[in-house]
């Protein structure tokens, strides 16, 4: 998903670029933050064994108001438009149910589970992934009491193809309708939704041209949130939608606040994930990062039951970290975001030169620039620690500021032309560029020319095959918890097109391509996860297309009365499905 980036907020994550994308991670030294290689990496509940209702949370009580302090309104809460992490986390956690959903681990490092949400299980395929069948649970209702039927799910999915889903994720739509001809049910009235079909009231069938193992994951996005056609109003859609989850909108004042109260028509017996402990949930959209930190630190009055959506403000990081009482209330840990410096595989051909560059980079400077080791830690792998199958390894051991001697050794007898580092011409981009130049030019091992690119043209430029950037910074966060959504996107040479690439190193190794293809097609994702971890290490050991720089960490505060909070490893937010307000 996308990570929310605010224009004015001083992004602590300077290395990744100011535009969208990704910027968050884990500490290889922080125990328990990465997935434990001995445990299962991911669990896909094909049989529907996840218990309903979700087991009660220990110590939880009903009542109270949960307050969520946020800097600005959600861009979208209309389900099919949602793609930003905060909206997915709070939207699906509180009012938008989906066909499938993640049951995130309360304990960091435990496996993420893909389960049936509105559906009884995570989806059944009998033909290796071309056809997927989802059966709806009994007793699921919209907030107005009308039952949720397969037709409503199909209508919702249909919306995601057209204007009302244009800003949402497009994986399913692209797989089902590669030519993207279908414009959604409001325009292409009466036409079937490509690849999506209701069979009776209870069954939704997805049919694709090619097998896709990621379908159960894709449907966790609220593109699969049901929408009643009869109630759909294209002018009010953004603010007036029916809830299917434990809370419903009581009052929504755009840019100001959103108040949710209990949805009486949500039945816990149909829901394997969510609870309904607080009486109300209130979002205050006018609290910037500094004030969120201040208020939750003080934790007085209603703020005692508050969640700060933003990370702890940079100026308060040291104070919070130093105060054990406060640190107890910190929700922190690994995120899906990893940052790299891509080395153009066609332009820097010598693997030892690429290795030398890895040794030259000063990760400690990057971390300092990002705001310290609470929000960024040095990375050594391609996949972030929360990616299932993450394998902790360090192919190039060195100090945090690199190893110039090793680099020199690798470079003996080699001569490299001046390297061009391309960066987005923003304050953060410039800072990152300064670190790159200073790092690589140590002892004159390399010469770096800095090439600023206008914000407007940045991704077009670096995404164009054959561009003249030798080095370019980028960040990445998976769109679903699977190596496919990291390695499969960033390092599959067969995906390289003339424009719009995400593989900014233009890494293209037939052996790796073949391996990735094999892994993509594996029906057993739990097994695939492990293999991705191995592949990650292989790529770094043998080919080194990128310099792993940092993993972004999450570090935010909750109030003294907030119970049941834990870090969502997928969205880098406080998971609210088990949340309650202490007495």
């Amino acid at each position: 998903m996308r990570h929310r980036v605010r224009a004015l907020a001083i992004s602590a994550l300077a290395i990744s670029l100011a535009a969208a994308g990704c910027s968050k991670t884990t500490n290889s030294d922080n125990k328990g933050e990465g997935a434990d290689s001995n445990k299962k990496a991911i669990v896909v509940d094909k049989e529907g064994k996840t218990p309903v209702p979700a087991p009660e949370v220990e110590g939880a009580r009903k009542g109270g108001q949960l307050l969520i302090l946020q800097d600005g309104d959600f861009e979208h809460l209309s389900p099919q438009q949602i793609y930003v992490g905060d909206a997915i986390n709070y939207g699906t956690g509180l009012f938008h149910r989906t066909l499938t959903a993640y049951k995130e681990p309360v304990k960091q490092g435990d496996a993420i589970e893909v389960v049936g949400d509105l559906a009884t299980n995570a989806g059944v395929t009998t033909d290796g992934g071309k056809t997927w069948k989802f059966t709806l649970r009994d007793g699921i209702k919209f907030e107005d009491g009308s039952p949720i039927t397969a037709k409503d799910v199909v209508f919702g999915l249909g919306l995601s193809y057209g204007k009302f889903g244009v800003q949402g994720p497009q994986y399913l739509q692209a797989a089902a309708d590669p030519k993207r001809e279908y414009q959604g049910p409001t325009v292409d009235k009466g036409k079937p939704v490509p690849g999506v079909k209701a069979e009776g009231d209870k069954t939704v069938v997805i049919t694709l041209e090619k097998p896709e193992q990621a379908v159960p994951y894709w449907l966790t996005y609220p593109i699969s949130t049901p929408v009643q056609e009869s109630k759909f109003n294209n002018e009010k859609y953004e603010t007036e939608f029916q809830s299917s989850g434990p809370y419903k909108i009581k009052e929504y004042k755009r840019d100001s606040h959103l108040i949710l109260d209990r949805n009486p028509n949500w039945d816990p017996k149909t829901d394997p994930i969510r609870h309904q402990y607080p009486d109300t949930v209130k979002f205050d959209f006018s609290v910037n990062r500094q004030n969120q930190t201040q208020r939750v630190m003080a934790s007085t009055g209603e703020d005692a039951a508050a969640i700060a959506v933003s990370d702890v403000a940079q100026e308060n990081l040291a104070t919070v970290a130093a105060d054990p009482e406060l640190e107890k209330r910190v929700i922190q840990g690994a995120t899906p975001y990893a940052n790299y410096i891509n080395m153009n595989y066609d332009r820097i051909k010598d693997v030892d030169v690429r290795r030398a560059l890895v040794f030259m980079y000063d990760k400690s400077a990057a971390i300092k620039n990002a705001g310290g080791n609470k929000v960024a830690v040095p990375s050594t792998t391609l996949m972030a620690p929360v990616v299932p199958g993450y394998k902790k390894y360090d192919a190039y051991p060195m100090g945090e500021s690199g190893d110039v001697a090793k680099a020199k050794q690798l470079m003996t007898g080699k001569k490299v032309e001046k390297l061009t580092y391309c960066f987005v011409n923003t304050t953060n981009g410039q800072k990152a560029a300064a670190i790159v130049k200073a790092s690589f030019e140590r002892d004159n091992v390399f010469q770096v020319a800095l090439k600023p690119i206008d914000r407007k043209d940045y991704y077009t430029t670096i995404g164009k095959k054959g561009n003249d950037c030798d080095l370019v910074g980028s960040g990445w966060g998976q769109d679903w918890p699977d190596g496919e959504s990291t390695l499969g996107v960033l390092f599959d040479g067969t995906l390289i097109k003339d424009e719009g690439n995400n593989n900014y190193s233009y890494f293209n190794e037939p052996s790796i391509n073949a391996e990735l293809k094999k892994l993509r097609e594996m029906t057993d994702r739990e097994a695939a996860a492990k293999a991705y971890g191995e592949l990650d290490e292989k790529i770094m050991k043998e080919f080194v297309p990128v310099i792993p720089t940092t993993y972004t960490r999450h570090y935010s505060l909750i109030g003294t009365k907030v119970g049941g909070a834990f870090l969502s490893p997928l969205y880098s937010q406080v998971n609210v499905t088990r949340i309650f307000v202490k007495a």
Binding site: R2, R6, A7, L8, L17, A19, A20, G21, C22, D71, G72, D73, E75, H76, Y83, G162, K163, F164, V166, Q167, Q170, Y171, R180, G184, T186, V187, K189, N234, E235, E238, T239, K253, R254, D255, S256, F285, S286, N288, Q290, N291, Q294, R295, M297, A298, T300, D454, R455, K456, D457, Y459, T460, S474, G475, W476, D479, V489, K497, E499, G500, N502
Partner: protein, 330 residues
């Protein structure tokens, strides 16, 4: 008078037109790329950009987009195509690129916040600044005068974001003796509105009072040396009558000018104030819109800000005519 109004309105419309064209042009000439912003860095292929651009109407030539925007203001328009079209009645400022919400609704939400800040702080700054300036002019060289000069200098060099953040940090979060800045509509909770607005009011009010104080002092000193003030004293009037009825009255037109400029320009300053105090007003909206490349909102806020400047210029002119019998509106 009527002719004056017609003339001024015409000039205002032309001014706003020029500003709208410039803004539109600058937006596209600059580094804006709304589709890429919405698309994010990933999975953002040409096809997706294309779809977003199409949904935003950004594929048409600039002058057509501009024409659509402008005609929407006067005649309303339909946004989007076919069944997905949204009716946007005049004055239509378009819909937000990001949220598809009509910009007018967004502006309507922010305006009371900005207006609250502007009016409240203006009252404080005028009352405080003008009385301080006058008092110090009358007691020139006295301790009050010295204080007021110091105040004017400090006030002019302090920035709202600095002082605002400092006061919030100390008064609200550390000492907890001042209410947290927030906006609630006065119609819903009048006292809450007062207490929520009080810190921005006082901060902004005191800071801009410095400008008024400096200005009122200089103006009063000048007026006090005018012949007609001497005449008033020669008549045997009390100092009070001389200072207030004669001197202050004469300095009103310049004070009103500053007041008008300040109020008219307040939307410009609102960006910083509202960001500092986290107030969901027009200023904060504008800052976010610029960062998001959200053209309709950028246009609307720029035009609104310009509109207020123009409006207050007219008001100031009209006030002149009320204050100064020599001025005829023509």
């Amino acid at each position: 008078m009527l002719r004056y109004l017609i003339k001024r309105s015409l000039i205002a419309v032309i001014t706003l037109l020029m500003i709208s064209i410039t803004t539109f042009w600058l937006f596209f000439a600059g580094s804006a790329n709304p589709a890429a912003q919405m698309c994010g860095a990933k999975a953002c292929d040409a096809a997706k950009i294309e779809r977003i651009n199409k949904s935003l109407g950004l594929k048409d030539p600039i002058h057509e987009q501009y024409g659509r925007f402008m005609s929407g203001i006067f005649t309303g328009r339909e946004i989007g195509e076919g069944a997905d079209a949204i009716k946007c009645p005049a004055p239509c400022l378009g819909v937000s690129f990001r949220t598809s919400e009509p910009v007018l609704d967004i502006i309507e939400r922010g305006l009371p916040v900005s207006a609250s800040i502007a009016v409240g702080s203006a009252v404080i700054s005028v009352l405080l600044g003008v009385s301080l300036g006058i008092a110090s002019a009358l007691k020139r060289g006295g301790w009050l005068d010295k204080f007021s000069i110091g105040f004017a200098l400090t006030g002019a060099s302090l920035q709202i974001f600095f002082l605002g953040l400092l006061l919030q940090m100390v008064l609200v979060y550390q000492l907890k003796i001042w209410d947290r800045p927030r906006y609630v509509p006065p119609s819903e909770d009048f006292l809450g509105w007062l207490s929520g607005m009080s810190l921005p009011w006082v901060t902004l009010g005191v800071l801009s009072a410095a400008t008024y104080a400096r200005f009122a002092r200089a103006e009063m000193l000048e007026i006090l040396s005018e012949d007609f003030v001497r005449t008033a004293r020669a008549k045997g009037l009390t100092p009070r009558a001389v200072n207030i009825k004669h001197a202050l009255r004469a300095s009103l037109s310049s004070i009103v000018t500053i007041f008008g400029l300040q109020l008219g320009g307040l939307l410009g300053g609102a960006a910083i104030t509202e960001t500092t105090f986290d107030m969901p007003g027009i200023g904060k909206l504008a800052v976010k819109a610029v960062g998001d490349d959200n053209l309709p909102i950028v246009m609307a806020t720029v035009l609104l800000a310009a509109f207020f400047v123009v409006l207050f210029n007219v008001i100031v002119d009209a006030m002149y005519a009320v204050i100064d019998p020599r001025v005829k509106l023509s």
